[in-house]
């Protein structure tokens, strides 16, 4: 991958003691949709604000196409920003809001109106050009903010939880819309959210933040199926994580605390080598084993069902096996044998797990 936008060892400390962002390095490709995902206070916004130029890094460099941006003022960069609270200029109409970057950037006046119209049509707000922001709904205001961020053909578009203030159905609709527009324009995008579904469905890659550090940067399915750290495995999606040690004498064997020996993917076993591992098994990979069990289901456990959560399209079983917490998810309706307090035999196949070496 050739880097278009590069963050090199970025550090940011507001108070000189704690690092809000701690040695973050990412290469972003041209046209890529990268999402910053992480819990509250993990440094996502701070990193985004440094790319925009609103905050100066305490150390490190930001480069665009090999050119150093670090010391450039926000208005000397060519970067569009969309804020969670829209930040539309309340004293200007939709049209004037969108024309504002063109005026400030000395876009030819005779082409201004056409460009504004074009971008308003792109976000589906053509008929609202003459309205003031306060006359629009939240979703419409966010579209105006998007239009304002895109109208001057920026090199990069930054969005900080742009859908955070919208209700669920509008949010999903806007996710699709936003992704369509991003593809159509082909713009390099950095998106901040703490909604993992949003990150999974929209991104080319996800950068997972924790305590100002980057835990992993990878495509959504990689982050889900092959988390690099225990934190990522727990933060994204539902998970069972068992502590264990690699059994060096038997290929493909790992001994789990309390649960005993388990069969795992031999390749993964070899890569980890030796020592302590965390074994991640996603709840949807755990299956019911009895009766007429599938012979490939080598790893078996006796599960006591504690709580059943019925989602309609799937059922989540929360329980335990030999004192270890265990969660499993069954697609479809709730089978008859499954009742709270019942005991069932469950299992998973070698390779359904993911090994995370403990450092």
């Amino acid at each position: 991958m050739t880097a278009y936008l590069s963050l090199r060892n970025i550090v940011k400390s507001y108070d000189g003691r704690v690092n809000a962002v701690d040695n973050v390095s990412i290469d972003i490709a041209k046209g890529e949709f990268l999402t910053f995902l992480g819990p509250s206070g993990s440094g996502k916004t701070t990193t985004l604000m440094m790319i925009a130029g609103f905050e100066a890094p305490s150390a490190g460099a930001i480069e665009l196409e090999g050119e150093d941006l670090t010391r450039r003022k926000p208005y000397e960069r060519n970067i569009g920003v969309v804020f969670q609270n829209y930040a539309l200029f309340p004293h200007m109409t939709v049209e004037r809001n969108v024309a504002f970057p063109l005026r400030m950037r000395r876009f030819p006046r005779n082409r201004e109106a056409a460009r504004v119209r074009e971008i308003l049509d792109l976000v589906g707000l053509g008929p609202f050009a003459g309205k003031h922001p306060r006359e629009l709904s939240g979703g419409q205001q966010q579209r105006v903010a998007l239009a304002r961020g895109l109208v001057f053909n920026p090199d990069v578009l930054l969005l900080d939880e742009p859908l955070g203030a919208l209700d669920k159905s509008l949010r999903e609709q806007m996710q699709v819309e936003l992704k369509r527009i991003q593809r159509e324009v082909g713009i390099t995008t950095v998106y901040v959210t703490h909604d993992q579904t949003e990150a999974m469905t929209m991104s080319d890659r996800i950068a997972v933040f924790s305590h100002g550090k980057l835990e992993q940067v990878a495509p959504p399915l990689d982050v889900y199926h092959r988390p690099r750290t225990r934190f990522v495995g727990e933060f994204i999606g539902d998970s069972n994580i068992f502590a264990g040690t690699v059994d060096e004498s038997q290929p493909g064997c790992v001994t789990l605390e309390a649960l005993g020996p388990m069969r795992v993917d031999v390749e993964a076993w070899r890569r980890v080598g030796k020592g302590a591992v965390d074994v991640l098994v996603r709840p949807e990979r755990v299956q019911l084993a009895a009766p007429g069990a599938e012979p490939a289901l080598l790893n078996r456990l006796v599960m006591e069902i504690g709580v059943i959560v019925n989602y309609g399209d799937s059922v989540l079983l929360i329980g335990s096996a030999r004192g270890q917490r265990l969660r499993m998810r069954i697609a479809g309706a709730q089978p008859d044998a499954i009742r709270e307090g019942a005991t069932v035999i469950v299992g998973w196949r070698p390779g359904d797990e993911h090994l995370i070496a403990r450092s």
Binding site: F54, P74, Y75, F83, N85, F89, M104, R148
Partner: protein
Amino acid sequence: MGLSLACLVALFLLLPIVIVVPMSFSTAISFEFPPPGYSLGYYAKFFTSEEWLEPTLNSLVIALGATALTMLLVVPAAFGYVRYRFRGKALVNLLMMAPLIVPHVVSALAYYGFLGRARLTGTHLGVIVAHGVLAVPVAFLVISATLKGFDRNLERAAMSSGAGPLRTFFHVTLPVLRPGMLVGALFAFLSSFNEAVVVIFIGGRGAATLPKKMYESIRLESDPVIAVVSTLLVSAVVLGVLVSAFLRPRGANAA
């Protein structure tokens, strides 16, 4: 219970107006309530006599000058106070509020001594300086509150749109803050326009304002024209409050 109490308070506040306004249309030669008859005579007297028009003009000039001075002091102070962290911030706030805490008579005495030495008693400039400072607390309260409610992301949005600090200020910050600033200025104006204590001490003959003239007139002659002036002053305040209420809601909801 709460409502009746509120009504009582409102009545208490309104009573003087209820008495003064009819008296301004009175035909009596002195103060008399209820008026024996109604006419616009005293209004005619007010608007034609030099004796009353000059203080009116003085009041306007001084109030405008004081407002300008107050804004000049308060706007930069409020920006500094709201947007930066520094040592002694609480002390600065206290200092800005000082004119509100010190009794006007004490301020008046101090100004009398201070402006006298600078040979500014009895001049417009002297009263403008005093009134300009006296209006600082109210203007500071209004403007710093507006500034606190201002969404800094608006400035960030402007900057990422390509506007430098100056253009950001004039295209975004100032227009969004304008209603709050106007309310602050209006309050400063009214505070000077209605101020009586300090101006009696330092206004002299050269810078007599309406309240000073009223005070003198009531002591010497109890001329019912005072009822006219009072009515006009109250109308001005009511108008001011209405204008500020109209200005408020638009700028405030920037967050």
